[in-house]
Symmetry: C2
Subunit: 434 residues, 2 copies
């Protein structure tokens, strides 16, 4: 039998996995700082529950199968399971309900570089009954901002927009009936030249003046305040436009209250999130110097999470980080700080097996003081043990021989600087703890 | 569409999930303290890779299906994926290789109380090339001991044995050919009376004196030292027996070096782990006052992890905690400390929306100092906001009204003791940080 892993399924070496786990931890911790509670829904669901809302593209990609008489499917996102969860448990939840979920989802896409069939999504959503205050749209912005700051990745910018603005603008031009087609096209604006954009609008049967007005509108530029005042100055009074502008202003203002650096957020009227079910604020996040990564964190505001499952209205706002793809891109571009394949801070090596007992006792002491420590136990030459220490890139090394056994004073070596210090075991603990 | 979750798939409320995540965190952190590196293999594998080693029972339970032309299966444990992983990547790993994996596995059992079709396993294994030092068997014991201490669960005892002892004992009785049948029977010893045990041995065609010797052997009692000296005094000299006794002694002695309380570990010669592939040390863990939970952490030593995939020899030792079932049993017996449904330490409530901006700024400050904080923003009466605070069982509450807005002095209330203190925002941070 040949050992193989399925194509499109990420499997990391320990030194990489350690970095991945750190990223997951930073993301989860930040989500919790903002009051999001963890959730963990099943990977498998009834097929009809998962597919209740989805279109043809998703259905083709889904891992669906029968077990006995039951049609099962593996989740392809964390949103449908959340909709199901809220429908099932809303009487046991308190609203506004803030949850995060970090979990694997499955899409049977054709495997290709950078596409995964199993990948982590790291989602947050804030859900309320009937109505959700717009302030939460700013809070989501603050979460993205804090996560990417804490991850210590390249300079990023969060692009925000409000879909009501474009709808209201189209209404003011009297072409609201073209909204779906226009949305689809605006979504492509960064990939096609202006002429092609105008050409496609013409093909929809729109007159040239309106097309140009639309292009000018979605290309509105400047800093956030400048864009907001340009939007104000257009003097458009359709309800969608007025509400959208008011909401966008609130989000930008609250972002200041929440301490977001204006360098890291930018209103961009061309951001629409395509045909997704968003109805207000939308977000995309790009690295300034790596636009080819695409959006590394996206989401938005929606009117009704669980409409497929019930009559009650649960509006929400949320975002998702596609962690597996992000990790893959960062790694490919040498942007991850990958160190050794062990969580150990210190390794103890003995000059011969006579000192193993002492080494094992010392490791036990260190661990009881919350210091990850190990003894390399193997019937091999001392030289081999040192090769092991170097290969795992251990930060600190303690060697125990006759002298140390007699004096109970241990030499600890910083394997990066090469510096060496002699200490008692309690001094060791103090030293390694900081 | 009715929202439903599949039977046998655990789905928790936020207040429960928070406890579950804490348990996962304690387990992962302890594993790392002992130098185990995280791994994360796919949930889906090629069916032939997963089923390469398994017997009929597993195959019936497995979630297996076709996608296109490929036979896929969901993993039913974390051991076969580890065997595959080591076979694939052994040239990139350093040995001894210590890994942990906490992940969901799938078994399509008939759903019943306490049986899950999707459940977490929390595994550690230490693998070496050709030979793995027996000291690591004690280290695994120390890991179990530390995990269950840190989880703050009811009093537990780790039962250990070495399968070579029973094999060697059967050899000394000249009934080694019955080893498999005897193992199967010994595994049931705690569920059947002594007479039934002896009766079944007779049915195998074994003479009465040997049956009674066997029963006496596996019932050997006393503390660990007493059992070891009784085993010594039997004077058996078959190779298996001698090696097994030597290994068991080493494990018990090293357990002392590692600081394990002798109250929490007990040699029990009736522990065999049935027909599993273990070849030396075996472990089972029970709560003293809840034997009905069964073993909550089991494992052992094996000779060759990846034999299905390659010729090279990789002996190992490992254990697994079945976390989902453990959580379920602890919850059913009221043994979990379930608090509120939020990770927030403090909630800020405003007397009216005029103070929302101030509240949002304060929440931002707290979060920047790593304190989970939230503002309850909703167009509702103050009374409703207070109901929310009580419902989520928030540990600390800050109310902001006119006085606080003017003085910038905030009253923080300990919601458990009822105690209230007035402080500036920087004093608040200091107070909440400890």
């Amino acid at each position: 039998m040949t050992a193989r892993t399925l194509q499109g399924f990420m499997e990391l070496l320990p030194e990489e996995q350690i970095v991945m786990e750190k990223m997951k931890h930073v993301i989860a911790h930040t989500y919790e700082l903002f009051g999001f509670a963890p959730l963990d829904t099943p990977v498998l669901e009834l097929a009809d529950v998962l597919l209740s809302k989805s279109g043809g593209e998703t259905e083709k990609q889904i891992y669906e199968f029968k077990k006995g008489d039951t049609d099962l499917a593996m989740r392809f996102d964390l949103t449908v399971p959340l909709a199901k969860y809220v429908a099932l448990y809303h009487n046991n939840l308190t609203f506004p309900f803030k949850r995060y979920q970090i979990g694997k989802v499955y899409r049977g896409e054709r495997p290709q570089k950078g596409r995964f069939r199993e990948f982590y999504q790291c989602d947050i959503d804030i859900i309320d009954r009937d109505e959700l205050n717009i302030v939460y749209d700013a809070e989501v912005l603050a979460v993205i901002y804090t996560v990417f700051n804490k991850l210590e990745l390249p300079t990023f910018k969060i692009y925000i927009n409000n879909r009501k603005l474009l709808s209201g603008f189209l209404e003011s031009l009297d072409i609201a009936d073209k909204t779906v087609d226009v949305l689809r096209l605006v979504d492509k604006i960064k990939k096609i030249p202006a002429e092609a954009f105008l050409g496609e609008l013409s093909e929809m049967g729109l007159p040239q003046d309106k097309n140009e007005a639309l292009l000018k509108f979605i290309k509105t530029s400047g800093n956030n305040e400048q864009i907001l005042s340009q939007l104000e100055n257009l003097g458009i009074s359709t309800e969608n436009y007025v509400t959208g502008l008011e909401e966008l202003k609130t989000v930008v203002n609250q972002a200041k209250n929440l301490g977001i650096n204006p360098q890291n957020m930018q209103i961009d009227l061309s951001i629409t999130r395509g045909l997704d079910y968003y109805t207000g604020t939308v977000y995309e996040t790009f690295f300034d110097d790596y636009p080819q990564f695409g959006s590394v964190c996206s989401g938005g505001r929606y009117d009704n999470l669980s409409s497929v499952f019930m009559d009650k209205k649960f509006p929400g706002v949320g975002i998702s980080i596609g962690l597996t793809r992000l990790f893959d891109q960062l790694r490919d571009n040498g942007l991850l700080k990958i160190a050794g394949p062990t969580p150990n801070k210190v390794l103890i090596v003995t000059q011969n097996p006579d000192y193993n007992d002492l080494a094992i006792k010392l490791a036990g002491e260190l661990r009881r003081d919350d210091i990850a420590a190990d003894v390399m136990i193997r019937s091999c030459k001392f030289k081999k043990k040192m090769e092991f220490a170097n290969k795992i890139k251990i930060p600190y090394l303690i060697i125990i021989g006759e002298e140390e056994a007699q004096s109970q004073i241990f030499a600890i070596k910083d394997m990066v600087s090469g510096e060496q210090n002699k200490m008692t075991s309690s001094e060791l603990i103090k030293f390694l703890k900081n």
